[in-house]
Symmetry: C2
Subunit: 446 residues, 2 copies
């Protein structure tokens, strides 16, 4: 490469850089998810980005297979980049179950890759934020999953949400009664599209793809049509599935989840039994969850999950039932931006110290150290430029306070504390440990 | 794949899973690094794991090129997985400099991949923790880099460290005087091996590979032999490079860094001028840093970096000088484990509520919610098993407190607070908001 010809600096299609103002809310969201997961005893794990291809292939359905980045490594091994965190979790659980014991609760927040067609406007690299409880069939875990989802959004100050829950066995019970049990995968996939394509098209799909009669399709859709409070829903569902043992088991689970979440402090109206929530993914076998923002229902579910009977059956004979959900980080960030909840700030420090008296660098550094010792983030500008230029820099970055000290202030033993949002300043006398200044800054940062 | 044949659950050679007890200290270390970087105004960024091969190739030297995972993606593009965070930073800086402005400070904590020979006992996937200041030649940034490194280790409670600093121009000045300037890359690489292979072999390498005379090699090694306090070092170095302008500039920089870091509160003896610190990497042009743990000097530097003249010259004609360092996360974790600083705990929640009265799940859940509202992490066991079994589970996971409530306690309105480390219990009366219990738990967790 000759030195005169430059390489064009660019990212691959479908990939993106995160600049500070995009990365800061992202880190904050990840921190909140971690903090909530941890407060319930979910432990962090991590798995490699690369796995043997045979571990990943065929596990996420046809589409995941097509979308997987795969290649041969230098040692001739066929490897793939993980396309989700569930398949690696299955491999991990099978491999380490003896050491981990059950039940076992994990969270994993990590990047996954899918070679999506870029014209769909989707990214090929994104982050997943999963939490799961492995090794128990107890409904206590189903209840907790709903409670964690609610806590997550409350902590994010997104309280206008609804968690839609359903149970696969309710749907199975209905299909059993209607005589469509053998077509359940097709029918559930069709139901899942209800919000998108409407009743008529769903009925059509159930008839044409599922081979159902018009009467059967009508009966299936009857279940999806019922509405009302959770109590009303439970009564109506019961009437529809009463003669199916499977269906009644699902109904019992829904009843327990509603009651248990309420006992744990989730407001009654936040959880909504929604028998049209089927979730396309084949591996769910029990409760399923979707979470919608009231103000932006059209963006779809921002936190989804469910119960699966046997997570790791391809890797071990030991049965590992589980339940979990995944926060849609990127979708949620886009939503929060649309709702005006994201501040445009590109500095994680809130206090700025301009360095404009060339001979005073040591004093500026010392002051910054004193503030940091009090837990306040401080940036000292690295070059002795003009004050005006430095204040422009501070404004652009989103600093909240500038501490201005020129020769006058140094000889008076004072400091100008400038509120960069309002433009107002106050003069603070400096004591040896800067405690006056720390108090003044804290007051402005509240 | 038939259902009866299992796939062996395993990771690729050179890759590893992180189980909770390994992941928790890792997350904590990352959090500390972030917190320190942020308190100086370094902002987070992220870049894709995959880049066009032409972006990465040839940038990290021959070895990096050999170790890069590369393949052709589905669209026929030659792509590579990042092998460090510096080359992506160069691409990023060139691409976004107009939007970012300078100076500009970033941290990036992210995974990188290198197809190392696995017999070396190295991992092929690991994390880097970098911070850099881009776009300024001011020595204030060199001083700050040393201060950040010191702060990082203080915050990690690793105060027995020494930060070795040197300046490339001091070495250049010496080589200039000795007449070996044209062989500087070879000579610096040799000097860098001093601690590993000793004086004699270094002299030999300077002579054979660098084509130097025995007298020249001796003069070079003279510089590396000097020792003493920083003041003594500065005087001796001055005597050796006094007639080289370049050398004297380097000396001036070292003097400023020592004085500035001291003004910022770094104890004088923590920074050690060490003219044998050359750092093999060709792109350093100014100050270089290495950090050693006093108790484990042989593991090598745990935080290294330096100043480079022009980070992004292959991508832009705009000059982007910079300075930064990288925390050796995995090496440091191994060291902390060796020093007994890592607790073997696999739960991030500290309080455990056994669920052994089957009909009382709602009460257990409610109590957990009250404690979480007070900021205390709580796990409720999901199944109504025998108390003894549940307490064993809690012990194994590293919970610190169990809150035991059976029928007796429910009817008395009390709770047994069991300290799992000591085995001792106390009975606490429950008030409606559990505030007594919260106080008792907090007292035990201090």
């Amino acid at each position: 490469m000759s030195k005169s010809s430059l390489i064009q600096p660019r990212t691959l299609r479908g990939f993106r850089d995160y600049l500070p103002d995009a990365m800061m809310p992202r880190e904050q969201l990840i921190d909140t998810a971690r903090q909530v997961y941890r407060s319930y005893g979910f432990s962090p794990i991590d798995t490699p980005a690369l796995e043997y291809e045979e571990i990943l292939a065929g596990k996420g359905g046809d589409e995941s297979d097509k979308l997987m980045y795969r290649f041969e490594d230098g040692g001739g091994r066929s490897v793939g980049m993980r396309f989700d965190l569930t398949v690696p979790l299955a491999r991990f659980a099978a491999q380490h179950v003896a050491q981990l014991g059950v039940p076992w609760k994990r969270y994993q927040i990590a990047t996954v890759w899918r070679a999506e067609k870029s014209q769909r406007g989707r990214y090929r690299e994104f982050m997943q934020c999963d939490f799961d409880t492995i090794g128990t069939r107890s409904l206590a875990a189903d209840i907790e999953t709903a409670v964690v989802i609610h806590d997550l959004f409350s902590t994010l100050k997104l309280s206008d949400i609804h968690i839609h829950i359903n149970h696969r066995q309710v749907l199975t019970g209905l299909l059993e009664q209607v005589g469509l049990l053998d077509q359940s995968v097709v029918v559930l996939r069709a139901i899942d599209k209800l919000a998108k394509i409407g009743h008529e098209k769903v009925a059509e799909e159930i008839e044409t793809v599922g081979g159902a009669s018009a009467q059967q399709a009508k009966e299936v859709l009857q279940l999806c049509n019922i509405s009302g409070t959770n109590d009303e829903m439970l009564r109506q569902v019961e009437a529809l599935v009463v003669s199916s043992e499977t269906g009644m088991e699902g109904l019992h689970a829904l009843r327990q989840i509603v009651a248990g979440a309420s006992a744990a402090g989730v407001p009654q109206d936040k959880i909504k039994i929604d028998v049209a929530t089927a979730r396309g993914l084949d591996y769910y076998t029990g409760t399923v969850y979707e979470t919608f923002l009231d103000q932006l229902p059209n963006i779809g579910s921002v936190c989804s999950g469910g119960r699966y009977d046997n997570l790791a059956k391809l890797f071990t004979h030991q049965e590992l039932p589980g339940i979990g959900a995944s926060l849609g980080l990127d979708r949620l960030l886009a939503a929060m931006e649309e709702l005006g909840m994201i501040e445009k700030v590109s500095t994680p420090a809130q206090v700025f110290i301009p360095f404009f008296e060339k001979s005073r660098l040591h004093e500026y550094l010392q002051l910054a150290t004193q503030l940091r010792a009090a837990g306040i983030g401080v940036e000292v500008f690295p070059e002795p430029k003009k004050l005006g230029q430095q204040l422009k820099y501070a404004d652009r970055r989103g600093f909240r306070i500038a501490l201005i000290m020129g020769d006058q202030e140094f000889s008076d033993g004072t400091c100008q504390v400038k509120n960069l949002s309002t433009g107002s300043s106050e003069e603070i006398g400096l004591d040896p440990d800067a405690s006056n200044l720390v108090s003044a800054v804290r007051q402005l940062l509240v």
